[in-house]
Amino acid sequence: MRRSTVLILVLLATCLLLLLADRVIGLGVVKGSLAWVLGPLQRAFYAGGEQAGDFWERLQEAERLQEENKRLWAVVEQLTAERLHYQEIEHENRELRALLGLRERHPGLELLEAEVIGRDPTGWQQTLRVGWTAQEKAREVREGMAVIAPAGLVGRVIRVYPNAADVLLITDIGSSVSAVVQTEGRPTGVVDGRWQEGTRLIMRYLPQGAILHEGDWVLTSGLRLPPFEEEGFPPGIPIGRILHLVTVADLHQQVELVPAVDFERLEWVSIVLGTQSP
């Protein structure tokens, strides 16, 4: 028999003998003595094991906390998005209420509410693109129609698409509006856009004798100017306030205006489809 086989058999026999002895006479004392010898080592290992276990638990806890943290961040992000969404709705609500107020202030006007969906990308024109969803009224939108906001006059429709329109702002150099100053004598003139020339609005052709003050309101007069004789601005819509007198010519005065509408923050407008007969 090979030596290796003998060794294995001896080991097997030892195991069996130990088992048998443990079964028959009980080797508790032997085992206890050996365990006593190994005791200090076992205690040291166990203490190390406890520390390692604590560390392992902390590690697992850290992982759990990390997961929890991730989950909570996801909730925070979701809630932030929801909050922003609600803020947007609230803001939209305010804007629409203002438009409703506009409707109430001008009961004679037939209006189509539209949302600002774009601004002129070229930077050299003062236009807005507005869109709407009310299909029935949309067919009535035509070039030249006035566009107003709760604060005042915005501009005029210059191009119509199926669900949108381009609006030329009153500040654009191509815009002219017949206006009246809300002051003694109610002098009239024409408000021209001057944004491309560095100012915003200029009111020209004011009579020489008109007494004008800074801060006086300028409103639409309702007179129609070419080339939009058919689609005039309704009267009484605020255009702006007099900022200062620019020139006093022989026959006319000229003043600079501050627009009533903050065009940068404009989100909702109303297109004046027409005037309702009383």
């Binding site: 290796s4 080991l11 030892t14 069996l16 443990d22 085992k31 076992q42 390692a52 276990g53 392992w56």
Partner: protein, 165 residues
């Protein structure tokens, strides 16, 4: 070399009873002594594996409530059987240690359960095999790769040094 490994296995037995219960891996406690004894038997053959299994098994017997010689016998039989079975396989095949550990784990635990029953302990065969032995054998099979690689490297290095001397 075999005595060094046996001493290491004794320390592993201490770790097995003190550290591993605190560090459950996937809800099971891998049997470090079994893994090292099996791996050494695969690397160095059945005799050296048997010596390591005997030493480690006895240490576990002393440190646990199992009858003295019981774990040593189960470990010895498992390692010798797997070493013989594995003798025909190539050592470079990674399937060899993994399959060996999976099979060895089942053989070892079945023997332990059998011995426990023989010694009058209550054994819930179905539940133990399903909920303990099966996941344990899978974890041990996965752990065997690094253990086998480590011992194989150690063996190659010491063998080379011995030949050079």
């Amino acid at each position: 070399m075999v005595y060094g490994i046996t001493l290491a296995v004794l320390l592993l037995a201490l770790l097995q009873v003190s550290l591993m219960p605190r560090l459950p891996l996937l809800e099971v406690r891998p049997d470090l002594v079994l893994l090292v004894a099996l791996a050494w038997g695969m690397v160095r053959g059945s005799v050296e594996g048997a010596v390591v299994a005997f030493g480690g098994g006895l240490a576990l017997d002393i440190l646990s409530s199992f009858p003295l010689g019981g774990q040593a016998l189960a470990l010895l039989l498992t390692v010798v059987a797997l070493s013989w079975l594995g003798a025909s396989f190539s050592r470079g095949n990674p399937l060899f240690p993994v399959a060996g550990a999976f099979l060895g784990s089942w053989v070892y635990h079945l023997l332990l359960l059998l011995l426990a029953q023989l010694f009058g302990q209550a054994v819930a065969w179905g539940g133990t095999l399903r909920h303990v032995v099966l996941p344990l054998s899978l974890v041990e099979a996965a752990l065997m790769l690094p253990v086998y690689w480590l011992l194989d490297q150690l063996e190659r290095r010491t063998h080379r040094r011995a030949r050079a001397a």
